[in-house]
């Protein structure tokens, strides 16, 4: 420490020394133990479902009634179901559908919700009032009810399922993003941009959305978890993906008949997988909130 003190110059030496942005983000995320565990669980299941079948070959297309209803053994680690499909292979096969539909539907819901909420919040006035009443009305109708009606009319394939799930679950994120936009649109830097003649599009795309990224990402993780659960619901009710394709919810549904016959391997693995993945995504959401919540410190 030198004895030279200059008030004017002091500000230049006051640079922030320390870890950079991304390293700090990783440090914050890893401080949330549960989030790290969640991330590990998700990574495990993604590897399990997408790379697992490459190592563990099973036939999930043809029925093999001679091998039906076997308990776990050396040749079938988790046993077989009522038509002779290997359960472990089926867990991978069904998990692929659950994860893909869950991720895609969750992201779709987030995208729709973000655009809807950002426009409503930024434009304000009667546009906002109308758009938000639409959301209120949507929230008043249970998503499951809509799903049941749609499934009764037609049998959706995977792609259609993603679209339907996306369109019933964007309401909550749209409210979150609207609230965020309401505060961001009056920030000084947005006012400055508008005062010098910047367009509204620029204000939304360059300032409002990038600054709500924390809300968006956290909402997205919860949406993915919700969507995976929703796929399981729908399939459990027999309205999701159709056999021979399946997903975790469908497997639960198929195994339900075996509850009283002691064939636990038909229910426990898929049930646990759903619970673990949903909890894991929620934990990741919590961890990401810690990463982005810089201003609270």
């Amino acid at each position: 420490m030198s004895a030279v003190i200059q008030p004017g110059k002091a500000e230049f030496s006051a640079q922030v020394a320390g870890p950079t942005g991304s390293r700090l983000a990783i440090a914050r995320f890893s401080r949330n133990r549960l989030a790290v565990v969640g991330l590990a669980v998700v990574v495990f299941f993604v590897l399990f479902c997408f790379l697992g079948p490459l190592v563990y070959h099973t036939d999930q297309l043809h029925t093999a009634l001679s091998e039906a209803n076997q308990g776990p053994s050396g040749s079938h680690l988790l046993g077989t179901d009522a038509v002779g499909h290997d359960e472990l292979g089926r867990l991978m096969y069904g998990g692929k559908v659950s994860l893909i539909v869950g991720l895609a539907a969750g992201l779709l819901a987030t995208v729709i919700g973000t655009v809807w909420g950002a426009v409503a919040g930024y434009v304000g006035g009667w546009v906002d009032a109308v758009m938000m009443r639409v959301v209120d009305a949507g929230i008043a109708i249970p998503a499951l009810f809509i799903l049941l009606v749609i499934s009764a009319i037609s049998t959706p394939d995977t792609f259609a399922l993603v679209i339907i799930l996306g369109f019933v679950s964007w309401l909550v994120p749209s409210r979150l993003i609207r609230a965020e936009t309401l505060s961001l649109k009056n920030r000084d830097y947005v006012l400055t941009l508008r005062a010098i003649g910047g367009s509204h599009t620029r204000a939304i795309t360059r300032h409002v959305l990038p600054n709500s990224v924390s809300t968006i990402v956290v909402a997205a993780t919860f949406q993915v978890a919700d969507a995976i659960l929703l796929v399981a619901y729908v399939s459990y009710l027999g309205l999701g993906v159709q056999p021979p394709a399946t997903d975790w919810g469908g497997m639960l549904s198929a195994g339900l008949t075996a509850v009283y016959s002691g064939r636990w391997w038909l229910i426990l693995p898929s049930g646990l997988a759903v619970i673990l993945v949903v909890c894991a995504f929620n934990a990741i959401g919590d961890g990401l909130r810690d990463v982005f919540d810089v201003r609270g410190r």
Partner: protein, 583 residues
């Protein structure tokens, strides 16, 4: 001890020790406070010692980040959990550092109490003010609620709240900022503490209210013999209120002494620089009277060469009987190359006027013409072209820069809006040049705003405003969030660039000394109307209205002797005004 030689000679403290009676109420000895943060430990206070005796006011001054608030919080045992405290802090004989929670709870509010900066957040918005004061009383003394209520009304009367019998039932939002601060003070003195810690008690208030609150605190301290630790950055407040001053720099005290010694004959280099940077209010004595000058130089506002002109502008917020007239028949103009100051108390409409000028708020009636064109009547494209000629600097150095952009992107934004065809290379070159123009290294373009200090951020804001070479700069309180030395540097940069580039400037400020220094003409606003306007050297030196005169009289100057005289003059004028007005 570190290498900085503190000018804390025994000759200034020793005589005081004899003068002041009794043991010190606050005795801080070799205090070290270290915060553990994500980027490692940060030493906020490094071996600090000070004393406050009963009936004495010690001002702890320094710039932001010097650790002065940390000392105040340490004295109350209110530091956050990540603070490691070493040394000794004795309040009325109890060592706060080692005291247990029950002891601290008993201490706070009875032996020592605190007045915070922001009255709005220091009060619970959903509890009536009377109940909040009564709670403090009953927390420490076993009295009935009826007695507490009587005492509460008494306290409200003592802190100068009119009609305390009915105000006791008011919620904080029904009171003005100054009245809220009075309530906070009433809570602080409810149990007659022997030590009062005031952390920037008047920073959030207007000068006239500030003067009243300081008067109140001074009277309370003198009447009850309370020791006061006043934490502030405002040298005028120090001169007005303090008996002794301790100057803090980077966690250490570099100079202590009586208020006259430190403010009038500073010995430490840092104190000298700090005092040199404080803008001083000029009075009639500094300006020789020039008769007839105003008429010669001030042309009419309707002149065609005005860069921006507001004509009979009114702005009304809300509808029906609850509507608020934010502006009412306001007319003024800024001509090419000149700087016009817009001054007034908070709520006077000065920021609204600036926003109307920027086209962010549409006037309810009246017209705004920018560069001779009516903004509201031009099409979208024409309006954009006009707006390219405006630069904006707003008050908050944190909020005015988008945290997710780099400094380079922030400054380049106006170019992306108005010079879309510009090549990336040219843009980067221009950003670099502009950064250097505001005296920042061009290499800073890759940095994030959070890595910069407040003063640097405001200069980035200025660079963004000037990158299009505007004809008008609108600056809304550009330096009020900055330390005086940084404020001086930023104002110098604006001034230099103005003489170089020749832009006009609409300068909104509540700091009359800064406006005197910086503006050629001034418009004084009062609750949405223009009170008076004219050349700065006339209006802010020999004002023609009582309102401006009161505003000027309430500004504390950083000279204890002059300030004492000003205070007496002001009180005399107020008393005279009251008797003549019959209030």
């Amino acid at each position: 001890m570190t290498a900085i030689p503190p000018v804390m000679a025994q000759d200034t403290t020793a005589p005081l020790r004899d003068e002041a009676s009794g043991a010190p109420i606050l005795d801080v000895d070799d205090l070290v406070v270290t915060f553990s943060t994500e980027s490692g430990p940060v030493e906020a206070v490094r071996g600090l010692s000070l004393e406050v005796r009963p009936g004495e006011t010690l001002a702890l001054v320094g710039e932001s980040g010097s650790g002065k608030s940390t000392v105040a919080l340490a004295a109350m045992g209110l530091l956050s959990g990540n603070a490691l405290v070493q040394g000794r802090v004795c309040v009325g004989g109890t060592n706060v550092v080692t005291a247990s929670d029950p002891v601290l709870r008993h201490l706070r509010g009875s032996t020592a109490s605190m007045v915070f900066q922001e009255p709005g957040t220091a009060l619970d918005p959903l509890t009536r003010v009377g109940a909040q004061i009564a709670e403090v009383i009953r927390n420490h003394r076993d009295v009935s609620s009826a007695v507490a209520r009587t005492e509460t009304i008494d306290l409200l009367r003592r802190v100068g709240i009119p009609d305390p019998e009915s105000r006791v039932r008011a919620f904080p939002f029904q009171l003005s900022g100054g009245q809220c601060q009075r309530v906070v003070i009433a809570m602080a003195i409810a149990n007659e503490p022997r030590l009062l810690i005031a952390d920037e008690p008047t920073t959030a208030l207007d000068v006239t209210v500030q003067a009243e609150i300081l008067e109140l605190l001074r009277r309370l301290a003198v009447d009850s013999g309370t020791g006061v630790l006043l934490v502030t950055h405002n040298m005028g407040v120090v001169a007005d209120f303090a008996d002794r001053v301790a100057v803090m720099y980077r966690g250490e005290i570099v100079e202590t002494g009586s208020v006259e010694d430190v403010l009038l004959a500073p010995r430490h280099e840092y104190t000298k620089r700090l005092l040199a940077a404080v803008p001083r209010l000029k009075t009639a004595a500094d300006y020789p009277a020039v008769t007839g000058r105003a008429q010669d130089v001030v042309p009419r506002d309707t002149d065609t060469d005005s860069v921006i002109a507001l004509n009979d502008v009114a702005v009304r917020f809300g509808r029906g009987p609850s509507a608020v007239n934010a502006l009412d028949t306001v007319s003024f103009a800024v001509r090419a190359g000149e700087t016009v100051g817009l001054v007034g108390e908070s709520g006077s409409g000065k920021s609204t006027a600036a926003r109307v000028a920027l086209g962010l708020i549409a006037p309810t009636s009246g017209t705004v013409s920018l560069f001779g064109q009516n903004l509201r009547k031009s099409g979208v494209r024409a309006r954009r072209r006009l707006q390219a000629g405006i630069g904006v600097v707003l008050q908050d150095p944190v909020a005015s820069l988008d945290a997710r952009m780099s400094v380079g992107e922030i400054i380049a934004e106006p170019l992306r809006v108005h010079r879309r065809s510009m090549s990336r290379h040219d843009r980067e070159r221009l950003v670099g040049e502009t950064l250097e123009a505001v005296r920042l290294p061009a290499a800073i373009a890759g940095r994030a705003p959070r890595e910069l200090s407040g003063g640097q951020r405001q200069r980035v804001s200025l660079a963004r405003a000037l990158v299009l070479r505007p004809r008008l700069l609108v600056a809304d309180e550009p330096t009020s969030a900055l330390d005086v030395s940084v404020q001086k540097a930023v104002l110098e940069v604006i001034g230099e660039l103005q003489s170089e580039l020749g832009f006009a400037c609409l300068f909104v400020s509540h700091d009359l000394a800064v406006v005197q220094d910086f503006c050629t003409r001034v418009v004084v606003l009062r609750s949405g109307r223009i009170e008076e306007k004219g050349l700065t050297g006339e209006t802010l030196v020999r004002p023609t209205t009582d309102y401006t005169r009161r505003l000027l009289a309430a500004v504390p100057v950083p000279d204890p002797i002059v300030q004492r005289r000003r205070r007496e003059d002001r009180l005399a004028a107020l008393a005279a005004g009251e008797t003549t007005a019959g209030e």
